[in-house]
Symmetry: C2
Subunit: 465 residues, 2 copies
């Protein structure tokens, strides 16, 4: 009897509640600060950008938050996603390790992003919102929100980081197919965009800049447009936990439990979504799973950044949060993993790293593509360049097992496929890709632009619950 | 309790045998003729192009042919594929009909093509073949065979129809990612390609020309390279029947049985794969399911072509078969459904249509894209332009039910996703797509180039079993 390749759950097993790690944080997450006053923000302030039902979800400390039935109904289009045993990759690596991957690439737009996009569109619809505005890096978030807005009949404007707008035209077309308007950021549509273009007409954009543009449009719309964020914030992390909650059930089906859990980390949402339910088991049941976040060496937020208060966006208009950051003025090189080019990291993920509950490592661009091609030749699926970071780490862990003979169980999140990133693969195969190593002095320089938060230490000690 | 969206089968339920319709054909399929002598071919002749294990499979009349375990092992990477109830589309159409679709887009390369690619690569490997050569239209077949050859360690050369080579660069990159060499056909690499380019240096190619090039390379390789075909032939149809066999089980799970079964038809492989197991039930159990093949109005093989003997390729080098054909000199317009631009049709599909066991209809390009966009806005998935033909027909059937109030069960095959066809969607949304109607006089003209087969009538009466 051949070994099993896939662990499938019936759609009745889609989780009925999201897991909110705020209920179990071993250390407090410092408060969100107003970018002007640098004092903790009130729900009213957040209410300019988000509908109140989402604001309340952002600050709740309930451990389990019920998933509304209309959201589960849409999840059923592709969820539960398969948990796969990478038997052919194991064989190719000649490793005694067991490698599992959660396949989030099966969603209609090819990534984990719809898990929160659908929820956010639903809550906005409930709150009477007519139009949303957002930013997107590689376009995975933008296409997910475009689909979700189409399902709920909401208008959508997307500020897409310029380098990705040109590198990944198919993702733009997907957004347009679902009825969204897409702009290459920086644009002339906002004050901040104009300012950036004045200083550098050739600016390729960054997620920080695109966020500033989207936030500006929402904040100056007189309440007509709400803002939607695809990562970083607490409610986004929480919506993504359907991934890890399903994975826990599927590992049980497989009769194994992971020794190592791996996901790539840009803003932190697919990492949190996959890993937090395992962190929960570590925190509450004494499990000892290693939890590893993998980021690009060219945007090494967790491995070279500082854990401090910083703006969420480049224009210093978004709230200030305590997080690992490379500085909000950080301008990442044009690597292909566009979804991992954010200067900061989700406050929850940051706090867990600072507290030693999770690990972080970085991977260089070329070694991630090498891993991606190896994975595709074994398993067929061509992964997103972002997900390739998790694959790199999983392969490295499996190769250590090959040396030591340890039969570890390794589980990683395949956050998306690379169907819209094929030009990146072409560049890789033609030897045109480079490794970018983020220089240490750049971190030092960027830190001089951090906001000077009065009483930062005592603020960090506050708990937002 | 919400209605069920997906019917999933455990991987242990992947069929153990393919269904061979030759065992049940209500009318004989006329023999395959040698393009030179016009006499029935011997296995030796086919043996120049194909390994003998595939030749034997082509001529067998066994009803059930065991699927080798190494093939099932690879099928398990993505099979069984989901059978989905299009609840949201039904609601959008406000129809009493129940619409189901078999989702073949979940394979790693995004279509049904790997079902036969993996089998063909396996049999070639078994037979000692080191290198394969093939053609591809839209690139779905080429990428499937490239993946399969990578799995089994075979070299691969692909002649890709030039118009698709340029329209769908991502598919070329996928093939290259899996190690295949891809050429825009017509090329300078073959005598026939040179001849075509001499007559028309701007030739955009056709599937018929690309087949001729691939066949020429294999036939003149001194046995070093074997040819592989992604449609039309009997063994290809048979390999695809895993689709319909799974679908039968899934319809049983759903507690319904289709009144109408629909698939698009180019060479016939996804149609046969989905429909033949239902045809089998019609033929042997007295079921009365309508079986509908949908083709482009611009390449109306079944609806305007003639049922007669014709060459399988443009150069008149490939065997002659009795099929519905627009003439091997047919040059299709550059529509986006590149997989449906073949001048002929599988002999089994043709014979069934001629005998009245199945129906055929055509759809114009614009109405297929309209259906595709509507489907994507309801179900999330962006379909391949080929599959959009099946969706068009399914929607039309459902709209008839809306008028009549009939609660029909409609099942169609979603043969692939459109991730590599996004420029076609862009053109559609920008109003740049055209409808092409194939002119009647062109059929008449093309028929004058048909091979003059001596004793065609009596040959047609032979049975190959």
């Amino acid at each position: 009897m051949a070994e099993r390749e896939k662990y499938l759950l019936d759609e009745s097993r889609i989780p009925k509640a999201w897991y909110n790690i705020n209920a179990d944080m071993p250390v407090p997450t410092p408060p969100v600060l107003h970018p002007g006053t640098m004092e903790p923000v009130t729900p009213d302030f957040l209410g300019v950008l988000f509908p109140m039902n989402i604001v309340m979800q952002e600050v709740t400390s309930e451990r389990w938050v019920e998933i509304p039935e209309p959201v589960r109904e849409i999840y059923r289009l592709w969820r539960p996603t398969p948990m796969c045993r990478a038997l052919r990759l194991e064989k190719d690596l000649d490793t005694p390790a067991h490698i599992y991957y959660k396949n989030e690439s099966v969603s209609p737009v090819g990534s984990h992003k719809p898990n929160t996009a659908v929820a956010q569109a639903f809550y906005n619809k409930e709150a009477g919102t007519k139009a949303l505005v957002t930013e997107t890096g590689a376009g995975q978030w933008g296409s997910a929100l475009a689909m979700a807005c189409s399902f709920f009949g909401l208008d959508l404007e997307v500020f897409m980081v310029k380098v990705s707008y040109h590198q990944k035209p198919y993702r733009r077309i997907i957004m347009e197919n679902f009825g969204a308007q897409v702009f290459a950021s920086p644009t002339e549509r906002t004050h901040f965009g104009k300012q950036v273009l004045e200083e550098d007409p050739d600016s390729q954009g960054s997620l920080g800049i695109a966020i500033s543009e989207a936030v500006e449009v929402a904040a100056t719309s007189g309440g007509k447009k709400k803002y939607s964020l695809g990562s970083v914030l607490g409610h986004v992390m929480m919506h993504q936990t359907v991934i890890g909650l399903e994975a826990l059930e599927q590992m049980e089906m497989a009769g194994e439990y992971p020794d190592v859990v791996i996901a790539c980390a840009g803003g932190g949402s697919n990492f949190a979504g996959f890993a937090f339910p395992f962190v929960h088991r570590n925190l509450t049941e004494g499990k000892k799973t290693r939890i590893v976040a993998v980021e690009p060496a060219s945007c090494p937020t967790l491995t070279k950044g500082r854990y401090t208060f910083d703006y969420g966006d480049a224009a210093a208009m978004a709230p200030i949060v305590k997080m690992y950051t490379l500085g909000h003025t950080f301008m990442p090189p044009g690597i292909h993993a566009g979804g991992l080019r954010y200067h900061g990291m989700a406050p929850t993920v940051s706090a867990l790293l600072a507290n030693g509950d999770i690990e972080a490592r970085s991977a260089r661009q070329l070694e991630t593509f090498e891993a991606a091609v190896r994975f595709s030749k074994a398993e067929g699926i061509i992964p997103a360049p972002e997900s390739a970071h998790a694959i790199r780490a999983a392969i490295d862990e499996a190769l250590v097992c090959k040396k030591t003979g340890e039969k570890k169980v390794i589980a990683f999140n395949l956050s998306g496929h690379g169907h819209f990133d094929m030009t990146a693969y072409q560049s890789y195969h033609h030897g045109l890709l480079e490794d970018f190593e983020y220089p240490d002095h750049a971190v030092e320089e960027a830190m001089t632009h951090l906001p000077q938060v009065p009483g930062a230490e005592s603020k960090a000690a506050l708990i937002v619950r």
